[in-house]
């Protein structure tokens, strides 16, 4: 499992790099420009992902500066290219974001919404998007959603797992569903 962490700070210092240096045995750090660094973290199957919200708070209190932190699974780069992330990270608030939080935040920008819409449709197909929106329409009642879509409850579960697998966004949670609804619901 490879996770990428992107950090945006007005001026990146070596001390900031030092924090991530020992995060795991397999860490690679790239300085992308004056304000962005990328940390690639390889985790073993049973290794837990560290709490990036906690690290973010620590950085803010130690450096007394605002910092934007985004951590995403490697596969996300298949549908959100890195160049897009470099631009988008500047738009985020000074917080730590996972992919769900990142998409919710970008849903506030019309042009970003259009881009994400295209990417998600290409990745998941219209059928899956309809499924997600139906869940929202049915107030997250999965049995009713399955009925309305004329499918077995287990088929619906299969779809949701597949969405999670492809996007790392869990549509079974309110937060995950919100990420999609923000983008697709006119």
């Amino acid at each position: 499992m490879i996770y990428h962490i992107y950090i945006y700070q007005n001026r990146i210092t070596e001390d900031l790099v030092e924090i991530f240096d020992k995060l795991s045995n397999n860490t690679e750090i790239y300085s992308l420009n004056d304000s962005i660094i990328k940390i690639s973290l390889s985790l073993n199957e049973n290794e837990e992902l560290v709490d990036f919200n906690m690290i973010h708070s620590s950085i803010v209190s130690d450096f007394n500066v605002d910092t934007k932190l985004l951590y995403i699974h490697e596969k996300i780069l298949d549908f959100i290219p890195e160049e897009v992330i470099f631009d988008d990270i500047k738009l985020l608030d000074h917080k730590a974001y996972d992919v769900t939080g990142y998409i919710i935040e970008l849903g506030h920008y019309r042009n970003k919404r259009d881009f994400l819409k295209r990417q998600f449709v290409a990745l998941l197909g219209q059928d899956y998007i309809k499924t997600i929106l139906m869940i929202a329409k049915c107030n997250m009642n999965f049995s009713i959603t399955a009925k309305k879509l004329f499918m077995h409850r287990n088929s619906l579960n299969y779809r949701l797992d597949k969405i999670l697998n492809k996007t790392e966004i869990n549509v079974k949670t309110f937060r995950g569903l919100r990420a999609f609804v923000n983008i697709f619901d006119e």
Partner: protein, 368 residues
């Protein structure tokens, strides 16, 4: 150690939107423990972040020790922050977590060592210095987070809901520990919380906020006993103050649906002076100022009201009764009695000496 002065501070996030903080004027003395309290979105965290320098001040001036700091970089303000999420590096030991901030400030190694060990001794963390945060309990982790603030020898501590992550029992314990710590190191502290019990128990002064405005500033007891307006009366205190809308006649008798009580002499004098007699008014009374024992009923015989019990909750040492008369709902904290049933009639004496009157339009407490 430091004093802080806020002068007409204003914060607007997006032009055109309502401001997050307006007309914030406050002086915080050296060694004070000031608690900002208010509901979510009232501007308390924004104010804290402006002190830290993480948020720009739209208008007004902020002074630390009489030095204007509006444009001073956050790292030069000598401020330490403690957050709700513990703000620790999960992969570093307790020792390194506490030392990191000092290393960043290029302090000599022996100095760092001394400071970390001192802070660990104050917080009872000496034996955990080699552990990683994962091997600590929630309370211990929050103590390390406090330790990270202590070692910095900062002029001001800013704490943003530091206990929200802990369970109820641990929260009470940590509350005590933070107060003890403040007594020991006496650093000026601003503590943000939405929990009014934390505010009441910890603060030397409380700042109650709502919608970006300061509602009242004062010592916990003053705020509890003399709330400036309906919001403060309702926000501070559990259960909150009861508010009954009604009318007061020329004789000083307050009437509302099913309620007919005589105001106290001092209130009648005040209301007469300020020309409120014969007008609509809001009566505010704390749940503990309603009595059901015979002795009190005899003493306050001019202010007895018959209520119907909606719910009675036995809390052990006392019973909280939710009762109704007409459209008026009240809460009363009375002696623990198991024999109160839903639907019972309950005669309660109102201690009108301790009641407050509020203007129905401005919602402000009527006072000289």
């Amino acid at each position: 150690m430091a004093t802080l002065t806020f002068k007409n501070i204003k914060k607007i996030y997006t032009p055109g939107d309502p401001p997050a903080v307006v007309d914030f004027n406050l002086e915080i003395k050296d060694k004070e423990f000031v608690v900002f309290v208010g509901p979510s979105g009232c501007g308390k965290s924004t104010t804290l972040r402006m002190v830290a320098g993480l948020e720009e001040i739209t208008e007004g001036n902020l002074y630390i020790d009489d030095v204007l700091v509006n444009d001073v970089a956050p790292k030069n303000r000598n401020i330490a922050m403690v957050f709700q999420s513990y703000a620790l590096y999960p992969h570093m030991t307790v020792y390194n977590n506490m030392a990191f901030g000092l290393k960043l400030r290029k302090e000599p190694k022996d100095m760092i060592d001394e400071k970390v060990r001192n802070a660990a001794a104050i917080l009872g963390l000496t034996e955990y210095l080699d552990r990683k945060p994962k091997a600590l309990s929630g309370g211990q982790r929050q103590r390390v987070a406090l330790g990270r603030a202590i070692v910095r020898n900062a002029k001001v501590f800013l704490m943003d809901e530091p206990l929200s992550n802990l369970d109820a029992k641990l929260r009470v314990q940590m509350r005590g520990e933070i107060i003890k710590l403040h007594k020991k190191i006496e650093t000026t502290t601003i503590y943000v919380t939405h929990d009014q019990i934390e505010a009441m128990t910890m603060a030397s002064r409380i700042v109650v906020m709502k919608d970006g405005y300061i509602q009242q500033v004062g010592a916990p007891k003053d705020i509890y006993d003399y709330p400036d307006n309906v919001f403060v009366g309702g926000f501070i205190g559990t259960p909150p103050m009861n508010f009954i809308e009604g009318r007061i006649d020329e004789e000083g008798v307050f009437t509302s649906e099913g309620i007919n009580v005589q105001a106290s002499k001092k209130h009648i004098k005040l209301l007469k002076e300020l020309n409120y007699l014969g007008k609509d008014i809001i009566l505010g009374i704390r749940p503990e100022d309603l009595y059901d024992d015979a002795k009190s009923k005899e003493k306050y015989k001019d202010s007895i009201v018959k209520f119907t019990v909606d719910v009675a909750e036995l809390l052990g040492s006392e019973t909280s009764v939710f009762a109704k008369v007409g459209n008026n709902d009240v809460t009363a904290m009375i002696d623990a009695r198991a024999d109160i049933q839903i639907g019972d009639d309950l005669h309660l004496a109102l201690n009108m000496e301790k009641a407050h009157f509020f203007d129905p339009e401005t919602k402000l407490r009527i006072k000289k």
